[in-house]
């Protein structure tokens, strides 16, 4: 966090200065470790075992927050008899289909309840062409739903209740197993376990912060699930100082999931309709909306969005233009798209603020895809590698591609930087923060808003008079933002106002005002209220000294300016704070409402003793002591009866490439991971040819694929060259010299880096075996002032099934001293490795 979120890290320092204990779990000793009270090195890719060990510690020592657990989680829910655990099936859950390598989650459901996603339904296409056609296109991001109230056992003694299942599932995650899997000595593990449990409960809370060290794995989603279970057990969610904080990446990356640049969701996490299903609005809503909880209002959210897009054209009688929405035919994630480019299916590509020729796993695959297009539009601040690969990319150097044979027409359009335009950033804390334009963009550089607005305008003009039905969605789109100044810059505030939404009386102030009858419009329901009263609340900048410690006057948080989600859980079931020290939101009997420094993430006047009428819908179906209002049962899920493709509980699987076998089961890896074993994407077998683990990461001094840092002298001089980090032990083993060169090899290719020998990388000892790890920052590429090979050349594409994220944090390699071969001999060199490892050679090289 200190490395990648240094500004946010000031609060960690502040907390530490006030007595908080900071623990850092990372394969490498980083700037964060330097500031931590406790640093825990572990083998990359093994956190589920580590966190699972903590869960086991909590459960077997009864360190859970029992009242919270019983009232607010699904611990008491009883599961079906047919459910079988990985402990019973040697690493598989019940419902696995070895043909399709996917699960049928039916047996994971609660007894007596039918499971379906909370928003977004599971589709039959899972079976058609797995595993590439699986993923969250089947589920909205609201989680999954359960059709009816489950049977519960508040005593937690029923052998099939979630609590007991959890206990059994994690009982094998002992400190000894943690050591065997993670390389963390039991003593060290115990210190962490004690610190976390001592700092949880009524009086204290523990927070988890994570970022891509946890997500970029073939089990990335389950990593976060494990932390969620732990935090729910300890009662650390919805309370001040608790939570699981995703430290998000790019500026406004949170914003671009809220108003997504993802293919499978619509604004506000509404699922994208599928081609084979949901032919009309009613059907879609019926199948995809949760019946209970706030997803029960999905129709209002969706209709308001359609009204924002198609305005007057969207009416009751035409399903509010629901038909105009594109339909999903399968996985259109970024890696699938690249494979489609190589196979010739995908012909054109926009790269808007992205540099996949350096930044995406298996960078060669990306370049080969881009070389096989008709056209490519790159909008960027710099002449990045993804815009110049056709003339100076690594394949040109190696002779694998020839410039004259690449047919792609590349358009480079200079983009305006954030200082040259206005708009909102939404980052980790869900805050929409407005930024103003400081200077005009130079030369021909234009904002992305400018580009897409005028592109849309020109297309609409070209389609004027078309009577083709297929052109109607474009022709009828409301596309009328006011433009300002010489360069005709569209007003970003006008866009914000549209996102906020309007009703008959002007700007809306909260999503509960949204209607499903076409009387309201709203571009993104969770953002409703950011422009309440026609005022840009994202630009609020009330100084901290002039407001409460929760600081509601600084910018605007979705939803409804609530700073802590699910904060109803900060009070006990009766609505009283769990403790004075951790007081946040509580029920006031005098005022008959929830009060406190923050806005309640709950209906403000729903009393703690409210019990729903039978058959109640949406939020009315949730009781006054159900804090998790987006869930259909209002509870935090220790066990996920639906919504995940790789199991209802997390369990340790080895990374796709790993030098060790899974000590837990015969099933080594996540059985549902997305594998693409094909030319240019061969995998390292676990046979000793690639004996070392490598992990990739960031440096404070550079930014991601480097377009924003490698061209800047002041940043480049701070980390001038690509390097690898190795322990003194590995350096000795492989005769690597400090500041000398090393060649690092995988089945994909070989790259070279300068060597930093450092004690910050430690060999891990696990039951008599030593695992060495190699650290590789991934910022470099051939362009710019500071250059070097890209770490992503080394990685393969292998993905988490739920969200299609690449496993960039754990893979295997070999490392040898010296520089890598150049030109054609590089291929021969890598071929020799492939031969030794028994991997088929790339046939026509």
């Amino acid at each position: 966090m200190a490395e990648c979120h240094p500004v946010g890290f000031q609060w960690v320092i502040e907390a530490r200065n006030r007595g908080a204990k900071v623990i850092h779990v990372d394969p490498r000793f980083t700037r964060t470790s330097a500031m931590a009270n406790e640093y825990v090195p572990l083998r990359a890719g093994t956190d589920i075992a580590f966190l699972g060990g903590l869960i086991n510690y909590v459960l077997s020592n009864e360190k859970d927050f029992r009242e919270y657990l019983i009232a607010y989680t699904n611990a008491p829910a009883i599961l079906r008899e047919e459910f079988a655990d990985t402990e019973d099936l040697d690493g598989l859950f019940s419902g696995f289909d070895p043909e399709t390598l996917s699960y049928d989650p039916e047996t994971w459901a609660y007894e007596g309840a039918e499971a379906a996603p909370a928003a977004g339904r599971r589709s039959d296409i899972v079976g058609d062409s797995p595993p590439e056609h699986s993923g969250p296109d089947q589920y909205g991001s609201g989680g999954a739903t359960i059709g009816a109230k489950p049977k519960v056992d508040p005593s937690l003694r029923h052998p099939r209740c979630v609590y007991q299942v959890l206990k059994r599932h994690f009982s094998r995650y002992t400190p000894e197993l943690v050591e065997e899997v993670c390389g963390v000595p039991p003593e060290h593990f115990r210190r962490v376990a004690e610190a976390i449990t001592e700092n949880s409960g009524r009086e204290r809370t523990t927070a988890f912060c994570y970022s891509v060290g946890w997500t970029q794995h073939t089990v990335g989603v389950q990593y976060i699930r494990t932390a969620s279970i732990l935090q729910a057990l300890l009662g650390n969610i919805g309370r001040p100082g608790g939570g699981i904080l995703a430290l998000r990446g790019h500026a406004s990356i949170q914003g671009s999931t809220d108003i997504p640049t993802l293919y499978n969701i619509l604004p506000g996490y509404i699922p994208m309709p599928l081609a084979e299903h949901e032919l009309d609005l009613d059907q879609f809503v019926q199948e995809d909306a949760g019946q209970t909880g706030f997803w029960g209002n999905m129709r209002a959210y969706l209709v308001s969005m359609l009204k924002a897009w198609w305005g007057a054209a969207a009416a009751e009688d035409n399903d509010f233009c629901f038909d105009y929405l594109p339909r999903l035919t399968g996985d259109h994630g970024t890696y699938q798209t690249v494979l489609n480019q190589i196979s010739g299916e995908c012909k054109g590509y926009f790269l808007v603020g992205e540099n996949p020729a350096v930044g995406s796993a298996n960078a060669k695959l990306q370049r080969l895809g881009m070389s096989n297009l008709d056209w490519l539009v790159v909008r960027d601040l710099q002449m990045i590698e993804s815009a110049t690969f056709w003339k100076d990319g690594p394949e040109i150097e190696s002779g694998e591609l020839r410039t004259e044979e690449i047919g792609t027409e590349v358009f480079f359009l200079p983009a305006a930087a954030h200082t040259e335009k206005e708009g909102a950033f939404t980052n980790t804390q869900r805050l929409l923060q407005w930024h103003h334009k400081a200077v005009e963009p130079p030369g021909e550089a234009r904002s992305d808003l400018w580009f897409f607005y005028h592109l849309g305008r020109v297309i609409q003009r070209k389609l004027e008079g078309s009577s083709e039905p297929r052109d109607r969605p474009l022709r009828e789109l409301v596309w009328d933002y006011p433009c300002e100044g010489e360069i005709r810059e569209p007003s970003a505030e006008a866009v914000l106002a549209e996102i906020n939404g309007r009703g008959p009386d002007g700007p809306l102030s909260m999503y509960t005002q949204l209607a499903d009858d076409g009387s309201t419009s709203c571009g993104c329901w969770i953002y409703c209220g950011v422009y309440a009263d026609g005022h840009n609340h994202a630009a609020n900048r009330q100084p901290g000294s002039e407001q409460s410690w929760v600081a509601p006057g600084w910018a605007w948080a979705w939803p409804d300016n609530r700073r802590i989600l699910y904060n109803r859980a900060s009070a006990d079931p009766a609505g009283r704070p769990w403790s004075e020290r951790k007081r946040y939101i509580w029920w006031s009997d005098e005022q008959r409402r929830w009060v406190g420094a923050d806005k309640p993430d709950f209906e403000p006047t729903k009393a703690p003793d409210y019990t729903p009428e039978p058959g109640a819908k949406a939020q009315d179906a949730l009781a006054g002591d159900n804090p998790f209002i987006m869930q259909t049962d209002g509870r935090a899920w220790l066990f996920a009866p639906a919504g995940l493709l790789d199991g209802p509980l997390p369990t340790h699987y080895e990374p796709h490439e790993s030098p060790v076998a899974n000590p837990l089961y015969g099933q080594g890896q996540n059985p549902t991971r997305q594998v693409f074993d094909r030319k240019y994407n061969r995998y390292n077998p676990p046979d000793g040819v690639f004996p070392y683990v490598f992990t990739t990461y960031r440096l404070t001094e550079h930014h991601t694929a480097g377009g924003m840092s490698r061209d800047l002298p002041y940043l480049s001089e701070l980390q001038p060259e690509f390097f690898c980090e190795v322990s003194p032990e590995l350096a000795t083993e492989r005769e690597l010299e400090h500041l000398g060169w090393a060649t690092i090899v995988s089945a994909r290719t070989a790259i070279e880096a300068r060597v930093l020998v450092t004690d910050r990388i430690r060999p891990l000892r696990m039951r008599g075996r030593t695992v060495h790890q190699v650290g590789l920052p991934y910022h470099w590429g051939p362009n710019g002032l500071s250059t070097g090979d890209a770490a992503n050349e080394l990685l393969s594409v292998v993905l988490d099934p739920n969200v299609h994220i690449q496993e960039a944090k754990a893979a295997t390699c070999d490392i040898v001293p010296g520089r890598r071969p150049r030109g054609e001999s590089l291929q021969r060199y890598v071929d020799s490795y492939r031969r030794r490892a028994g991997i088929p050679e790339e046939a026509d090289r």
Binding site: F9, R31, Y714, E729, H738, L739, V757, T758, R760
Partner: protein
């Protein structure tokens, strides 16, 4: 320049000493608390951006994450990185000698003692704006001067590149810019101070490792912080450059360190060279007298 200029010892008000009227602003400076420095180098970059300091070249130094190396004409802030093995990660307050940061690769690894850990010291160094500033004293052109804030600044339009200030500085701060010949160093953002702004580096520092303010207040704050750390068992914490009765009369920019100063590349007991200047002139005068006497002596006696 007053001829009764004090060359060393306690000096409460260097700006007053330099001739500013009594209503000059309070003396300002930095307290850099290295115990919260995360080595983000925002200070280095902010300084360069604000002051338009040139890039100094792309060199991988292999000194942990330090690729700046040292303070100099083209780096007015320098973040040092020191990797050390410590006996146990949860006990950072050991009094053992931790060894100097290796040159290049660490030594052959110690046998993997159970629970052995490491620490990574980071510290952002800067010109100390000495109470008795040797650089300023020795500057023959008056280019280096004491500001009304008590800081020490080079005037680039007056500097003649004589280079005298450079070996005079007991901290090795000020440097000569290549191809320019003149001397450059931190100005404590003299231009920003004039506008009531805090220096760029302090402004950019996310963790408040760099604290800017009135020197007296900073000294008190530092004393409190030191006591706090000592109480928390961080026995190795110490203040450096805080004391007004040290060899340079106290630093305008002082530090809280977690190890010996020399581990960070700082001199353990710097003394302003001009403290000895009167004695130097005395010896030189005596030597000159000897020369004169010798010449006369040589001519005495019989002419051939």
């Amino acid at each position: 320049m007053s001829s009764v200029y004090r060359l060393s010892g306690l000096l409460a008000d260097p700006a007053g000493e330099a001739g500013y009227r009594d209503d000059h602003p309070e003396r300002v400076g930095f307290f850099t608390d290295t115990s919260v420095c995360i080595g983000c180098k925002a200070c280095e970059v902010a300084c360069k951006e604000w002051n338009l300091v040139p890039e100094q070249g792309l060199d991988l130094l292999g000194q942990s994450y330090d690729n700046t190396g040292a303070l100099g004409a083209d780096s007015w802030r320098h973040v040092a990185f020191i990797e050390q093995r410590v006996p146990d990660p949860s006990v950072t307050s050991s009094g053992t000698d931790l060894g100097m940061p290796g040159i290049g690769a660490p030594e052959q690894p110690a046998a993997a003692e159970e629970g052995s850990g490491m620490r990574w010291l980071m510290s952002s160094d800067v010109c100390k704006h000495c109470t008795h500033a040797a650089c300023l004293d020795v500057c023959p052109t008056g280019s280096l001067f004491r500001t009304e804030f008590g800081t020490v600044v080079v005037q680039e339009d007056i500097c003649n590149g004589c280079g005298y200030c450079i070996p005079a500085c007991p901290y090795g701060v000020i440097g000569q810019r290549e191809g320019d010949g003149r001397a450059w160093k931190c100005t404590l953002c003299y231009d920003r101070l004039g506008d009531g702004l805090e220096p760029a580096c302090a402004k950019a520092c996310p963790t408040d490792s760099i604290q800017f303010g009135d020197l007296d207040e900073l000294r008190e704050r530092a004393d409190r912080r030191l006591a706090e750390l000592h109480q928390d068992g961080v026995g190795e914490a110490r203040l450096y450059g805080r004391d007004p009765d040290d060899g340079v009369g106290g630093d305008g920019a002082f530090f809280l360190l977690l190890d010996e100063p020399e581990v960070y590349g700082l001199p353990p007991d710097p003394v302003v060279t001009t403290r000895d200047l009167p004695a130097m002139w005395k010896h030189a005068a005596a030597a000159a007298a000897s020369v004169a006497a010798t010449v006369v002596l040589s001519f005495l006696g019989r002419r051939r």
